[in-house]
């Protein structure tokens, strides 16, 4: 369906390209330099932090489902795990890893 929709818009729509139109849109100013330049290191940092904490979240899911059977044993195990991650979060926080300026 998706492919046919894109194809249809190519077939149905008019096609009158010219050099100006094909240029990158930059509010009417002639574009300078390439778009794919280096990006802020913050984005990489966010991505890495995401990997850590999202895997944590995924670990919680099966644990949450069977917590009623695991009772105190499972709860304490998970609290230890959670504690380690919270220490990590506190460390990132203090080091300024979550600051955006």
């Amino acid at each position: 369906m998706v492919v046919s929709l894109v194809a249809a818009s190519f077939v149905v729509g008019p096609s009158r390209p010219n050099r100006r139109k094909l240029q990158v849109y930059e509010s009417g100013i002639v574009p300078t330099a390439k778009a794919r330049h280096k990006m802020s290191v913050r984005f990489y940092l966010t991505a890495m932090l995401f990997i850590i904490f999202d895997i944590e979240a995924v670990f919680f899911y099966p644990w949450a489902v069977i917590l009623r059977q695991l009772r105190w044993y499972g709860l304490i195990e998970m609290l230890v795990f959670m504690g380690i991650l919270l220490v990590a979060l506190a460390h990132i926080w203090r080091k300024g890893g979550l600051e955006w300026d």
Binding site: L5, Y25, V65
Partner: protein, 345 residues
């Protein structure tokens, strides 16, 4: 993967157990779902335009068809007949792939979302026991669509929009994921039908799960707004700074696909919210389908309402809210719920 229709009635000609008949039903159900979904999405766009018009004290679209009801259809045709050109310098393959992924992710989410039609009759395509996990996995593909769209366009606006968007999506995904853990602890299942059927008994009353998981509900609502790139978290496409964000260089139907995917995602987070917190199709007196639509509409109205009420956040405060408030709050919520559940048995 199992039965597609939780149908407790007669089994005409063994259609539900027959291997071929089974697939016939699956395909028919998928096509019906596709049609319904696209129509619903089109009318959500219409609803939003009308409501925002009313919030701003103007009539909104009211010219095409009775009360403007055909506006969305006409818009679709217009976008289809627009020139769908490809700017120079784009990475052709990924440029075309990005909107396809967006729509695919939005549609696939619905394969596991159940919705009550009638008593004991729920329509879904796959009743998987890890339903909510599947939804998260598929909706996470949205990041790829936005990132690839932003990167392949060879435009600075697109790249910045795509980057911001990816960082925002992954930041709020953790809060979103953790906000639901208390629900799973209480229900003890990831199957969406089980969660929807779970009712809290307080004396003679049957209340939805919301009464036990209010904090999770609030976190989910906020994170879901951020996940669907809606105002006040619509920084990836902040018009005043980034023109159109990641879809600046998209035209014609390729743009329409991003648009469609965005609104389809809004409908799906509303549906998931109503299943997880408000009991989905459960409700007194009226038939299930009515209750389900009512609850979904309630959430849709809420999203449109906050869009027209709140100004856009600054980027640093957006990240601060996600990482420093919602994430610790969600973890605390998990710990407290787990303690209470284990304590009370």
């Amino acid at each position: 993967m199992s039965a597609l229709l939780a149908y407790n009635g007669p089994n005409p000609g063994g259609l539900y157990t027959d291997p071929v008949g089974h697939w016939v039903i699956v395909v028919v159900a998928m096509l019906v779902l596709l049609l319904v979904l696209v129509t619903v999405t089109a009318y959500v766009v219409f609803l939003e335009r009308v409501l925002i018009g009313r919030f701003q004290r103007r009539p909104g679209p009211n010219r095409v068809g009775p009360y403007g009801l055909l506006q969305s259809a006409v818009d679709g045709v217009k976008l289809l007949t627009k020139e769908s050109f490809m700017p120079s310098g784009v990475d052709r393959f990924t440029y075309l792939l990005a909107p396809a992924i967006a729509v695919l992710a939005a549609l696939l989410t619905w394969s596991v979302v159940p919705f009550g039609i009638w008593y004991g009759f729920y329509n879904w395509i796959a009743n998987v026991n890890i339903g909510i996990l599947v939804i998260f996995a598929i909706s996470a593909m949205n990041v790829y669509a936005i990132m690839l769209g932003g990167y392949s366009s060879n435009s600075k606006y697109s790249l910045l929009g795509g980057l911001r968007s990816a960082a925002q999506l992954i930041s709020y995904e953790m809060a979103l994921g953790l906000s639901l853990v208390p629900t799973f602890i209480i229900v003890g299942s990831l199957r969406l039908v089980d969660i929807a059927n779970y009712a809290v008994h307080v004396g003679p009353l049957q209340l939805p799960l919301l009464v036990l998981t209010p904090i999770g509900f609030v976190i989910y609502l906020l994170a879901a707004v951020a996940e669907t790139n809606r105002a006040p978290f619509d920084l990836p496409e902040a018009e005043q700074e980034l023109v159109g964000g990641f879809h600046t260089e998209y035209s014609g139907f390729k743009f329409a696909m991003f648009y469609l995917a965005e609104y389809m995602n809004i409908v799906s987070v509303s549906a998931v919210a109503s299943i997880l917190f408000l009991g989905g199709w459960q409700g007194p007196l009226l038939p299930p389908v009515f209750w389900f639509l009512l609850k979904v509409l309630l959430f849709l109205f809420f999203y449109i309402w906050i869009r027209s009420t709140l100004p856009r956040l600054r980027y640093d405060s957006l990240m601060k809210l996600g990482w420093k408030l919602l994430l610790p709050l969600a973890i605390a919520n998990v710990i407290v719920t787990a303690l209470v559940v284990v304590w009370t048995g």
